[in-house]
Symmetry: C2
Subunit: 193 residues, 2 copies
């Protein structure tokens, strides 16, 4: 892997996750996060409103990418093919930085009620973004909701497999994983009775 | 409707929702909730750990009912028929008290970030409870997840229609609504391409 110098924003997220894991989320202050990252508090506040925002900052970008990918699908694409296009767009934008974050992010979220609640809201937000994008293509509400939930499940499953440090067979890009996960879920949905 | 005297637990929930709507969630204290309900603080704490728990207290019961209904479905029932059985079980347990709560609960949740996050976690928790119950019946993980999400969507949609004060055509029981919602979502899922 090439030597790589993360920018301030990424350093802050990494420092925060390390501290959340070591000391707990409630016990970690913004000052400590900035210090660990080798930055000042004012640099922290140029990037984030507060420490809660650190972990949800990626959500808006992710929602936007999913919705853009859905909007960009050919007009005759089916709802599920449009979701596949959204997943490709969002997955393609994730870097090795996002991959390395996975296990620590998961550990931090599981260790704290507030973070678990915010993460759940993020999941609901992603589904809403996809469902809205599908409705703008003329998909019925019920179909849009179901297709969006399949998309959320596929993104989560693909991301977990991709960022799992114990899977050495994991290929290098998230797109491969979300496509495989979405194919599995589509097949399962098609067979449901 | 017969005259009906709510018990302490229900009075506390009603008083809390009224106060959350009037003053905001953050500004409402346990003492104020107890006073509005005509009860003491110690009665409050016999029923709930804190004011946050007020709104999620029903979740464990709901998860249990959904899982029990899924487990009770005939062993040869399909995953979706098992989910339908879970929805019937949970919906059948909801009373006019739950129905009347709907709009105020919705308003309180929408007005506060913390409540929105906790509500999202509740949704995720219901899906997990149904998915786990399906897996115990031998349903594959992917199929269980998809079927559970359909169940969550159906329960939410049915409950919103049932408790919507502007729908006078709404029949008196939630079961009718969740069945109709689930049928719509199943049809939409079956047609997805």
């Amino acid at each position: 892997m090439p030597r790589w110098k993360p920018d301030a924003r990424e350093r802050l997220v990494e420092a925060a996750l390390d501290l959340f894991t070591e000391r707990g989320y409630d016990e970690t202050t913004v000052a400590q996060i900035a210090e660990r990252a080798g930055l000042t508090r004012s640099t922290f506040f140029r990037h984030f409103t507060d420490k809660r925002e650190l972990l949800s900052a990626g959500q808006e970008m992710l929602s936007t990418l999913l919705a853009e990918g859905i909007a960009a699908a050919p007009s005759d694409a089916s709802p599920l093919d449009a979701v596949a296009s959204g997943l490709d767009r969002a997955s393609g934008a994730m870097t090795e930085f996002n991959r390395g974050l996975g296990p620590r992010l998961h550990a931090a979220i599981e260790s704290n009620d507030e973070l678990r609640a915010r993460n759940a809201m993020k999941t609901v937000g992603l589904a809403a973004a996809m469902s809205d994008a599908l409705r703008r293509r003329g998909t019925s509400e019920a179909a849009a909701q179901v297709a969006a939930e399949l998309g959320v499940l596929a993104f989560g499953l693909g991301y977990r497999r991709w960022s799992d440090p114990e899977r050495d067979d994991a290929p290098g890009d998230l797109v491969t994983h979300t496509r495989a996960a979405f194919a599995e879920l589509r097949a399962a949905a098609a067979e449901l009775r």
